[in-house]
Amino acid sequence: MRVEPRKTVEIDVVEEDLFIGRNSTIKAKTGEIIVVKGDVEFEGDCNILSSLHAKSLSLENRGRINVHGDLIVEKFISLEDGELTVSGRLEAEDVDVGKIVRVGKGLKCLDISVGGVLESEGDVDAESISIGGEASVRGNVKGTRFSVGGTLTVEGLTELERLDVGGTAKINGGKITNISVGGVFESTGKLVFEKLSVGGVAKLKVVE
């Protein structure tokens, strides 16, 4: 199925692949969810005014994809030169976004790689998280490895095997086996770890 550029289209279920032209809007015809059983390919910017379930998501050019609801993807999300904003939950096996990912209600995936910024208002649950610039999580973080080039802020608890941050990391306690921070590391809550390596300043709060 194909949605022409700059059109607004109502969709319920698509049994095949869906190609969406630039600057288009799609929304659910009935209910609140659009289901695409094949792959979704965006030409450019797109507003999705419902939740979207799909097999995979990809972006051909530069663009901003806004999902007003949940985004549940069976396989991968590949927006190499794009931004992704999801007001609800984001679930996928593999997420690769070049610029920004904003998530309103939490993120669950195996691997996520974001070139610029990750903002999550909820929990983040991923095996491997790699963020080039800045990551901020208002909920809890659970995973194996979290790597941030610049700054990391976590307001909830952090549970990881390895945390690598190039610049500054501020967390609110948790359990992290290995921590490596190039600049400043601060834990404002109870923290359990085995190895902490910080290039600059480390501030720890220990609750007895």
């Binding site: 359990v192 190895k195 300043v201 480390a202």
Partner: protein
């Protein structure tokens, strides 16, 4: 305690708001602990400040100044600059600058560097006071007072006083006393059967 068997390595500043129990702490600059420290090894390049007790199983090495608000217990203590503690117990203590304890320090071997200063009693099996250093009371099995150093009271089984030393109080020894020229003793040295009990 929440940090167990952990290894901490910090290039600059480590600030701990509470007590910690760790395997090792290595910090290039300054470490502040607003609580107590229990560790196997602590190596600080600059300054260490611990508000309460510090118990270091193997080695405490501080390049600059170490201030321990409570009791310091350690295997080996090496401080390049100054050491302050309520009381200090260790196998070996070696300090380059000044040591101040309220209740004293007790070790198998004790060494203060040239022109160093010790405030508080020294109780050790072997004591070596550097040239020009100034100390208060010494309780030792074996003592060497370096050139031009000064002590208040000296209680030692064997004592060697190098040239220009001064002992302002009493000097009691059990087995042997040797001294070089220009040693000043403000009271006559006495050979005794038993030395007085040390304060710690």
């Amino acid at each position: 305690m929440e940090i167990m068997k952990a290894r901490i390595s910090v290039g600059g500043v480590l600030d701990v708001n509470g007590s910690i129990e760790v395997d090792t702490i290595r910090v290039g600059g300054t470490t502040t602990v607003k609580g107590s420290v229990k560790a196997k090894d602590v190596v600080i390049g600059g300054r260490l400040k611990v508000d309460e007790n510090a118990s270091i199983e193997a080695m405490l090495e501080v390049g600059g100044v170490a201030k321990i608000g409570g009791e310091l217990k350690a295997g080996v203590v090496k401080v390049g600059g100054d050491l302050e503690a309520d009381v200090c117990f260790a196998d070996s203590i070696e300090v380059g600058g000044r040591i101040e304890t309220k209740r004293g320090l007790k070790a198998k071997t004790f060494k203060i560097g040239r022109h160093g200063e010790v405030v508080g009693p020294i109780v050790a099996e072997n004591v070596k006071i550097g040239r020009g250093a100034s100390v208060e009371d010494i309780y030792a099995n074996w003592l060497e007072l370096g050139e031009n150093s000064s002590a208040r009271n000296v209680y030692a089984r064997e004592a060697y006083l190098k040239r220009g030393c001064r002992v302002a109080g009493e000097l009691l020894y059990v087995d042997k006393l040797e001294f070089e020229e220009n040693v000043e003793m403000y009271s006559e040295s006495k050979k005794v059967e038993k030395l007085p009990e040390p304060p710690i």
